[in-house]
Each structure stands twice: as C-alpha cells, then as structure tokens.
C-alpha cells in the first residue's frame, strides 16, 4: 500500500504556500472553512454530526486523509463517499481535513 505521508507532506506545503501567496490573508484563512462547509450537509455543521453520519470534527488529519484516499482508491467500502471524494483535489482535501482536525469534537 502506498504511504499517505508524501501526499500529506505535499498538500500541507501547498496549503502553506497558498496561505503565504494569497494577496488577502483572510481569503486563505476562510478557504478551508468554506471547503469544509460543503461536507456539512451530511456530516453536520462543522463536522459535528446530528446522528447517523460520521462526525469529522476533531478527527486527526492523518486519519481523515487516509480514509479519503482509501475511498478514492476504492479500498474502503462505500455507498457514496468513493464518488464524492474524487470531486476534490489533494490540496482541497488537505485543507478540509486540517480544518476538521483543528476543531473541538464537542459542541462549542
């Protein structure tokens, strides 16, 4: 199995680069938040599930990235996530997973 580490390292670099290069720092800061909000329809606001779906808030980034990679590779059994995960770039998934990892799992 291919290691997730290079992908993670690369995407973290990209994330940092994006933040540094952006003319408007607010934009970079909000990009991860905006991307993560596309998950909330199923996984709950800020990834805090209202029930019946996996909560994403507070999940370590490495674990989330590995799961998403497995969905995309068809290695993780799925009804729908294998199709959705393919719609995002590595950089976007990295931003999303970093955002969720940085949240408190409990309701604020």
């Amino acid at each position: 199995m291919k290691s997730i580490a290079p992908l993670l390292a690369l995407s973290l670099c990209l994330a940092v680069a994006t933040a540094a290069d952006a003319a408007d720092p607010n934009l970079a800061r909000n990009l991860a938040r905006n991307l993560a909000a596309t998950c909330a329809g199923c996984h709950g606001t800020d990834g805090r599930s209202a029930g019946g779906m996996a909560s994403l808030a507070g999940v370590p980034q490495r674990a989330l990235m590995e799961k998403l990679r497995a969905f995309r590779a068809g290695e993780q059994p799925a009804t729908i996530m294998h199709q959705i995960a393919k719609g995002y770039s590595d950089e976007q998934l990295s931003l999303i997973t970093a955002y969720f990892a940085g949240l408190d799992a409990r309701q604020p």
């Binding site: 329809g41 719609g87 995002y88």
Partner: protein, 425 residues
C-alpha cells in the same frame, strides 16, 4: 466606514418608514450600531442556511433578519414518505426557534411584499419596511399562472404537493380515500423543475404503499419529458418491480385539466384519474419578479457564481431552485444549502471590503426512496471553472447507487436529520 455609513443611512430610512416597530431596531436607538444588516427572504434550504452561516461565520458581527411566511420549515425531501404513510408531516417539520436562540437571527413570520433594490429596502405585510446592506433572496419556486388551462385555483381537487405542507397532507388523504382499483396519475412538467428525481420517487413510494393495501390500483406516471430525468436506470428497474401497478408514459404533454372529473387532457390521450397530481410548470418565486430581477426565459435568475449576486442587481444574492442552473446542477434542497454557504462567505468578504473566494466548490447528494426502506442516490461535485465563470461538475466524480439498498435508506434519513440541523439547529 462604508458599512457604518450605509447602515446609518439604512437606519434613517427605516426610521422614516412609519410602519417599522421600534422593537425591531431595539438597541439601535441607544447606540448607533456599526453592524451591517443582511435581510434574508425565504427560510427554506437556502435561506435558513444563509441566515445561520452569516451569523456563525461573522461571530455575530452581522445583523441578520430572516423573513419567512411559515411558522415551521416543512421539508420537501422525505415528504414522499408522508404520501406513502411511512412518515407524518410532523416528522419532516422543524421550527425556526433555534435560529433566534442559538444564532441571534431575527426571525420574522411574514410575507415579503415588495423589494426596492435601489433603496435597499424590503416591505413586509405586517412588519413594515426593513433596510438592508445586502439581501439574500431564497424564494424557491412558484407555479407559472395559467400554464395548464383548468388548473388555476383548483389545487384542492388536483393537488401539486410540490411544496411540502398542507398540500402533502391533502394528497395523502386523497390517496387514502382512493378505492382499490383506482387510478393515481402523476403529471411531470418539462425540465427544469424542482427536484428532478422527486416525481419518480413519489410514484415508487406510493406504489409500495398501494401494493400492500390496494393491489388492484394503478399508478400512471405521465411525463412531459421523453425519458426519466434522474437515476434513469435505477428508476426503470424500480418501476419494473412494480409491474402491473406502475405504468410510465413518456412524451405526455399536458394540454388541460378538468378539476370536476379529475381528467388530464394529454396531447394524444385523455386520462381520467381518481387522484390526479399535477406538478405544474414553475419558475423563480414571485418575489424575484417583484424585486425587478430579470428572469431568463421569464423563469430563472442568472447569478454571478462567485458571489451568488443576481446579474445586473448588485447587493441581491439569490439561492436555490430559483436560479438558472449551471451545467448538471440540480434544483435540490442540498444544492440550495451549498449555494447559501457560497453566498454567506462572499457577503462577509464583500462587507469587509475583501475579494470573494475565487474558487468556490458546491456538491450535491439526492437520496430517493423506491419503497419504505430502500434508497438510491445521485451525487455530484461542482468546481468553479474560471474560464467558463460557472461551476462545472467534476468528471469522474459523483455517480449513482449500484442498486437500491437499505443502508442508503438509513443514510437518507440521517442526511435529512443532518441537513435540517445544518440549516436550523
């Protein structure tokens, strides 16, 4: 400073309007606020989400007023289960209370009667005139008047049940009263219409109910379109499972209806039904026209997909089913929820004098029941294409279920609980 200035101007305009209750601007009388004010018209999947996210993402720094005519949100998704007797209307209804108590949204139960986009004001039936710095319009759909001769004013005899609520209950009662051996006819308008898979799901769910209780009945799916418009292979398979009970009739354009005899006059046929469910041709909710927005083909609002602002009307952000959709983008509650987040982010950027996100992403998931338990989905992810200046579906991503299954039946209900919470909790 601009915001402060425009807000003060807005407050002055509001003060000048005689009908504004003082309580609406309560604390403003003591200390003039520098907070921007966003008015949201329509508390469905788009509007409710926008109201919550504007408060959440601004950490309460932006004032938000939501104008919604109904006291409770009733979900169109899952409402076909009410028709099949698997759920009650209360199960698909959520109050607006938490938007106020959890998020500080000012919720006004009222009709928005007029919008002046030059003066930036919204008039209401009972709460006077409100000023806004930015307006979110999430008007849903209204039916095109006189599109089907004989239908106007006869929605009691020929329900649409395409806006969940009393119409859903009415159609269910008619189905309950239908004798065994009766004919239930559903008419589907030409695309685009709200919820592409919805009519086919309705046929399946009602069929699963009738198969248990009224086996000699018949369901006619009269489709103006030449073929099933969503999850075609999966619905075709589902219809095969209801052989003898469900009959799918494509290219069935509706010429007129007769409410007294519940008759549908089709282009080449005349169908008399015991229960006749006509989903009328629709367009952006009427308030969009009253706001002076230009509608493409007289039906849909065209937006700038980076900000969701209506073309030609800056400051008015439009969401949901009312939009001229981007390629392969469905008119769905889930998509409206996604539009709302793009709009909320852009509004906060614009209020702060920042450029909006140049690369917004939206995605969609639609679950459809083929009976009381088994479900099929369609999903897609749409990335903004800078060259085309609109979101485009990502090739190789998205798709449909392999087959109807119970796991997704549970997911469909969990999806509903989560998206209702994302809007309203």
């Amino acid at each position: 400073m601009t915001h402060r200035r425009s807000l003060l101007k807005g407050l002055a305009a509001a003060a000048a309007a005689t009908a504004v209750p003082a309580s609406l601007f309560g604390c403003a009388t003591a200390t003039p606020r520098a907070k921007a004010h966003v008015v949201v018209v329509g508390g469905g999947f788009g509007g409710a989400t926008a109201a919550k996210y504007l408060r959440m993402w601004s950490r309460g720094e932006v004032e938000v007023t939501l104008i919604e005519r109904n006291t409770r949100f009733v979900s169109c998704p899952v409402s076909n289960l009410v028709l099949g007797g698997y759920r009650e209307l209360a199960d698909i209804s959520v109050g607006y209370g938490n938007l106020g108590t959890h998020w500080g949204v000012r919720v006004i139960t009222d009709d928005a009667t007029a919008i002046d986009t030059a003066k930036r004001t919204v008039s209401t039936a009972h709460h006077g005139t409100l000023s806004y710095d930015r307006l979110v319009l999430s008007p849903g759909v209204d039916f095109i008047p006189n599109a089907v001769p004989g239908l106007e004013g006869n929605h009691d005899q020929i329900p649409h049940a395409w806006k969940a609520g009393p119409q859903t209950v009415l159609l269910r009662k008619q189905l309950e009263a239908m004798p065994d051996g009766g004919v239930f006819a559903i008419h589907i308008p030409k695309v685009p219409y709200r919820c592409p898979p919805g009519p086919y799901e309705r046929a399946c769910v009602v069929a699963s109910h009738l198969r248990r209780s009224k086996r000699r009945s018949k369901i006619l799916v009269l489709d103006s379109n030449p073929e099933i418009q969503s999850k075609k292979a999966l619905f075709t398979k589902a219809f095969e499972g209801y052989k003898g009970l469900v009959e799918y009739v494509p290219n069935s354009e509706l010429r007129a209806v007769d409410a007294a005899s519940r008759t549908a006059e089709l282009e080449f046929d005349r169908v008399r039904a015991d229960v006749l469910n006509v989903i009328p041709p629709m367009r952006a909710g009427n308030i969009a026209t009253r706001a002076g927005l230009s509608l493409v083909n007289g039906r849909w609002v065209e937006v700038d997909w980076l900000t969701m602002e209506a073309k030609g009307t800056p400051g008015v952000h439009v969401l949901g089913d009312a939009l001229l959709a981007a390629p392969a983008m469905p008119k769905s509650g889930h998509m409206a929820n996604q539009h709302a987040k793009v709009a909320a982010a852009a509004i906060l950027n614009l209020l702060a004098g920042e450029a909006p996100n140049p690369a917004p992403v939206v995605m969609n998931t639609c679950y459809s029941f083929v009976d009381g338990q088994n479900v099929i989905h369609v999903a897609s992810v749409h990335q903004f294409d800078a060259a085309k200046r609109q979101p485009m579906p990502v090739e190789g991503a998205g798709g449909v279920s392999a087959a109807a299954n119970e796991v997704e039946g549970r997911h469909a209900l969990a999806w509903a609980a989560n998206i209702w919470a994302d809007m309203l909790a």
